[in-house]
Amino acid sequence: MAEAAGYDPLGAAGTWRHQRAKLVVYTLLCLFALYYVLPLGVVILNSFRDLPDINRNGLIGLPHSFSLNYWSLAWDKFCVGGTCAGIEPFFFNSVSMVVPATIISTAVGAVNGYVLAKWRFTGSEVLFGLMTLGVFMPGQMVLLPWARVLGWLGLTNTTSGLVLIHCVQGLSFTTLFCRNYYVNIPDDLIKAARIDGAGFWRIFRKIVLPLSPPILIVTVIWQFTNIWNEFLFAVIFSSGTHQPITAALIALSAGGTSVHQYNVESAAVLIAALPPLLVYVFGGRYFLRGLTQGALK
């Protein structure tokens, strides 16, 4: 492994060619990285520029003015769809949707995975196959059924309704992740625990869950990011003050005035993008570790 890690694909040739090749590769990589990060840079810069500056010097340009004002405007003063409370209420709509949906879908996925990996029954493989199918099902396909279900349950245009949708829609992923992780836990552990007198839930709590942090972190990050960023269900099944932030951003840019407040909109977009970004910054290394690491070393 040490050899593989130290292997330099460009190191085979002589020193001069070696250096030149490295230069070319890194220049190319830097250009690509720049190209990729540019839109984010433009939005960040615009969130600090005043409107005349943007209008005069173009949407893409270095700032000639600087103000933090637009962030505070975007947060709790700007008018969205008739109310002038900024995006703050929508931000918290999203929070109160994403937190329970992430927790519930992860918890249920973990139990599903535990059953499908360690308590096989006739047809459990088929069931798992069908659940995995959900991973590949486009959201548009289930819009109408969900509309009916929410109607029956009386959850139309509520955060609870969106929580329910995201829990169910996310189950395929969380079950897939957890099941594939738990399959690597040796069956002997479960057998030993059964002989030791532990039941279904005690084995789950005492043996399986303590082994789970790597995959639970992966699942939580995945679910949090996807549910926070989700747009289709948000815009279809909520309206007015019940909208999550992704849907509210549209309402914001389609505001009453014909003049686009690029700076405020930029700040709002950045605020909306912040939570998943923070989750990734703080949890990213666990995410990668969890994806590559087995249950037991």
């Binding site: 002997d188 030993a192 002989i195």
Partner: protein, 369 residues
Amino acid sequence: MASLTIRNLNKTFGSVAVLKGIDLEVETGEFVVLVGPSGCGKSTLLAMIAGLESVSAGEIRIGERIVNGVAPKDRDIAMVFQSYALYPTMTVRANITFGMESRGVPKQAQAEALARVAALLQIQGLLDRKPSQLSGGQRQRVAMGRALVRDPALFLFDEPLSNLDAKLRVEMRTEIKKLYQRLGQTTIYVTHDQVEAMTLASRIAVMHQGRLQQFAEPRTVYDRPANMFVAGFIGSPPMNFLPAQISASGPAVLVLEESEGQGTRLPLPDDVAQSAGDGRRVLLGIRPENLTRYDHRWADEKPCLGTIKAPVEIVEPTGAETMAVVRIGSREVIARYEPDAAPAIGETVTLAVDMAKACLFDPATEMLI
């Protein structure tokens, strides 16, 4: 402690029959080793005794109680796994007390049992470590501790030594034997290693292709194997087989069919010849240690001594003894020599055959005659 009775036990996975009509009576306090090549069904049998596999047909009794439908935790058993199956996130202490905690044993009694087992296995210093911080031998001890901490009706061992290196395996084998002699618990022990079976068992159950081949004391299994499979499986190097015919005209002899010249004649104990019958074709089974350098002085001591001349093809010194592969007819036969008296390759040697120890097998049924 309890006895174990298995009657006409069958196990099928789909259309595949893994166990076919197993009958086994284990008395209280016995150490029974289930031995056989991989795929013979021994581990499945153990899992069924433990309640981890369902019974397709037949009956398992622990003591007087039929346990076919009883959950593992209610069978009053303790088991040591091949992989040790230590709970990786728990300390050694928690591993050992997990079972007692699950069964709601009071804290005080838990601490006492833990102290007793830790002292017995000398793992007092390891109690606060995690399994990943233990060596193979230490893990093995902890796994045994987890089983020993209770006083079960049955101890089950599933190839507990096969993950250890050779030296440690021998040490732990001795230790298991010591423990058994001290505790005298009814034990079922699965292994594919015939040496483990011979050294540990009070009785050996040899299994092959889902059937019980022989169930007897180690000495009997070794000296009088019930059939050619057992004869070949128990003992290393394995027993030699030579086709032969019984001739009872005059003193009973066995005529080897494939030997050099016109049939080597080996003396046969009269009772064996009688029970087999004149003229019958048989397979002579002879262990390497009963096939060795001929010594004139033995003539008086061993009444049934025959001799064979054969060329030596390979010589394998193992230290304590030297194995010589000789050719008799078309067959390679292994003879055992003292290292000092080992023959040279190519030499034609005269081998003494101790026919009192010989086993005769029926060529068709492969059963002992």
